[in-house]
């Protein structure tokens, strides 16, 4: 086989290097086009660039591994179904995280509805509902020590939007303006949710750090 000697290239900024490395094979745009043409491997390659972040957001948001996996799956199924209509007027990641935040926000309601359906059913659902709840509680207890358990509990006392904003800003380190794009709302609204969330967290955790 013919061997090709590689000549060092000029060096630029760290950002461009990181960008170059992370997209060394193909750009998002190229992968999107290939995915639209039916190349499933390209689609997997595309989503696996971002799926860890989506799972992190979902895990922080729900604090339950099973729920996080549900949100993760629902997000990427929606991406799969909607990719053909995605016009690339925004970054793929922006579009993806917008879907992910939507799924997070609607997930709890959907789950509540499902739980009610289970409870209303006449068959052996009492057991099923109890199992569903106790599974979730068991998951929550695996989150580590008492302090982190208290923090997770304080997070669960926030409203869904407050919790999502707090999660995205505090744990995922997204800027407020980026969160506003993801949640499709004004930056001022995001600030409001973050401030409310912080106040509530302070009240819940005051005895631990004050």
């Amino acid at each position: 086989m013919e061997k090709v000697a590689i000549t060092p290239q000029p060096f630029y900024s760290i950002e461009s290097l990181i960008d170059k490395c992370s997209h060394m094979a193909q750009t998002d745009t190229e992968l999107i086009e290939q995915s639209k043409a039916g190349n499933f491997s390209a689609f997997e390659q595309l989503i696996f660039r971002y799926d860890k972040d989506v799972l992190n957001i979902a895990s922080r948001y729900t604090r339950c591994a099973e729920d996080a996996k549900d949100i993760y799956q629902e997000t990427f199924i929606r991406v799969f179904k909607g990719l053909s209509k995605f016009q690339q007027q925004s970054e793929f990641s922006t579009w993806l995280f917008r879907i992910a935040t939507n799924v997070c926000l609607t997930y709890r309601e959907k789950k509540k509805r499902n739980l009610h359906l289970l409870l209303d059913d006449d068959n052996d659902d009492e057991t099923t509902a109890v199992v569903a709840v106790s599974d979730s509680e068991t998951d929550s207890q695996t989150f580590g020590n008492e302090i982190s358990y208290r923090i997770e509990n304080a997070l669960q006392n926030l409203s869904p939007k407050q919790r999502l904003v707090f999660t995205l800003r505090h744990y995922q380190d997204y800027k407020l303006k980026d969160i506003a794009v993801m949640m499709n709302c004004a930056e001022g609204t995001v600030k409001k949710y973050l401030f409310e969330a912080t106040q509530k967290m302070r009240i819940h955790l005051q005895d631990l750090y004050g």
Partner: protein
């Protein structure tokens, strides 16, 4: 400005979202208002308290599990789509007979080519892939899974269903063979089992020992594995293999990527070690590389890694 406005500025400041002008205004105001200053310090403490006492991020096993379930769900979605496409194809056939005839002709040509390519006779004449044969019954061991009934009503004497049939294939060849290399790179990037990915890197490593120039496809695959594989063990092996080759811009970029982006401290240390080895070989680093390392020193949270990076930069200057 009102007190409430300063409270908002306090929150923004804690999250590093305040511009320098407003930060100065806030600092001046807080000096004059100890009560608010106390609240500001409280907010900072809260942020640092939560950061320090939060359980670690999503585990690799959870991610792997989620990916596996997602693959299954996507496969179902694809099946649904393919049924829709079949319906559309039938509709097109009725609407445009010429196009349908063209399609049928192409299909026929494809079948003929397929027959001559994959028939047993063709296999005897050096086809690359061979089905793995079970010696007891001399038939390929095809596993059947994911059976989906289309019509399970047997009242008319017939049932209809689909299933996935997977036959193991066997291949043996020179590692320099482009086809073998394609399979190895595919396995390294797509195989869900981390052990298999690791074995693939090891195979490449054995092949690459004492070689200084690397095949571009293998190199880009190893770099991709180093920068994106979910398993730190696989990333570590990929780095080890890349270290064997002549240092170039791509390898340098990948090492800098690991130092700045990899969440595994061991790998960041390994990347710094790699730079040290390269330096010992007499390679000179340009200013931009040194600057990139300096930037990382400022960002690095781990004291040990920061010290190692500082020493590396010092050594480069010497």
């Amino acid at each position: 400005m009102k007190k409430e406005v300063y409270k908002e500025l306090m929150q923004l400041s804690v999250y590093g979202e305040l511009n320098s002008e407003d930060q100065v205004k806030l600092d001046v105001y807080l000096k004059k208002h100890p009560d608010l200053n106390k609240e500001y310090q409280g907010l900072k403490e809260l942020k640092s308290f939560i950061s320090q006492n939060t359980s670690s991020k999503t585990s690799d096993s959870l991610l792997s599990d989620a990916r596996s379930q997602l693959r299954q769900a996507l496969r179902k979605e694809r099946n649904k789509k393919s049924i829709v496409y079949q319906i559309i194809a039938v509709a097109v056939e009725f609407i445009q007979p010429k196009i349908a005839f063209g399609g049928a002709l192409i299909l026929l040509v494809g079948m003929v080519i397929g027959y001559y390519s994959f028939s047993p006779m063709a296999s005897e004449h050096g086809l690359l892939f061979q089905p793995a044969i079970n010696s007891s019954d001399a038939r390929p061991q095809t596993s059947i899974s994911n059976v989906r009934f289309i019509d399970s009503d047997a009242s008319d004497g017939e049932v209809e269903f689909e299933f996935d049939a997977v036959a193991p294939m066997h291949i043996k060849g020179k590692i320099d063979d482009p086809e073998i290399q394609k399979l190895l790179t595919h396995a390294l990037l797509n195989e869900s089992n981390a052990g298999v990915r690791l074995s693939t890197v090891n195979a490449i490593r054995h092949h690459s020992e004492n070689k200084k120039i690397i095949d571009p496809l293998i190199k880009s695959t190893l770099i991709k594995s180093l920068t994106s594989d979910s398993n730190p063990g696989v990333r570590r092996e990929a780095l080890r293999v890349l270290q064997q080759y002549d240092f170039d811009a791509d390898i340098r970029d990948a090492l800098l990527f690991v130092i700045s982006k990899d969440n595994n401290a061991g790998l960041r240390v390994a990347a710094i070690n790699a730079f040290e080895m390269i330096k010992m070989d007499g390679t000179k680093f340009d200013v931009a590389t040194i600057n990139a390392l300096k930037q990382q020193i400022e960002k690095e949270q781990n004291n040990y890694i920061r010290n190692r990076a500082v020493n590396l930069v010092k050594e480069i200057y010497q």
